[in-house]
Amino acid sequence: MNTMLNMDPWGFLDDLLDTSSRAFRAMRARAAGRFPPVNVFMDDDAVIIDLELPGKTAKDVELTLESQAVVIADKPEPVTDTVTGKTEAGRPAWSRRLDLPFRVNADKANAKFTNGILRIELPKAEANGVKRIAIAG
């Protein structure tokens, strides 16, 4: 029997974005283990980024701040070649980059792990305005 009650072909996209739906959970499950899920919160003065990283602590994660972006990456144990004896940094299993709409005050940035959730607080840099450059000559 062919029931064509729902004529909206794009409805599945709403499902994918609705965190309580089965479609979202299925998508999330496929991504699970490949990279940690992230929540991003913003207000006028700062951005807060939460990552779900159960079992991890500060030593397992590398946090890099660029002028207008933040990169959170896995920091695996160094690997030692048993034949040559050389030690190398392990290959990170995942890395997430978030481009920000404003520059960050690196001195006031902080990050803390609580029960497997990493919360990164990035306050906006004060002088986000345009600077005039004096032209010599």
């Binding site: 965190t19 929540n39 991003v40 919160f41 913003m42 207000d43 779900e52 159960p54 029960n115 497997g116």
Partner: protein
Amino acid sequence: MENEKFIVPEATFTEKPDGYELKVLLPGIGKEDAELHIEGRTLTLKTNSKYQNPAGFKKVVGEFERANYAINVDLPEMADAASLAAKLENGILAVKIGKKPETQAKKIEIA
């Protein structure tokens, strides 16, 4: 009145020669937020998450939400409920259960 929704957390149950280990992923849950009960051979876990979205902020990307977890695990016959030890650290619950001594493999001397 909305019923609290519980999610079944990711869990692994492994058997070793001298016991069992249950590892449950509970991000955002601290020691005080989880309740572990054992009744007979059934282990029950329920959590009351304190993870909060920061107040006054607008959520721009939401890939995970405050979640409460619940899981029931039926322990195998050889599990010794009396020798249960549970530790919750960094959002991971590790429960170690020993095996009943009389069920352990024993070498029998032939006279």
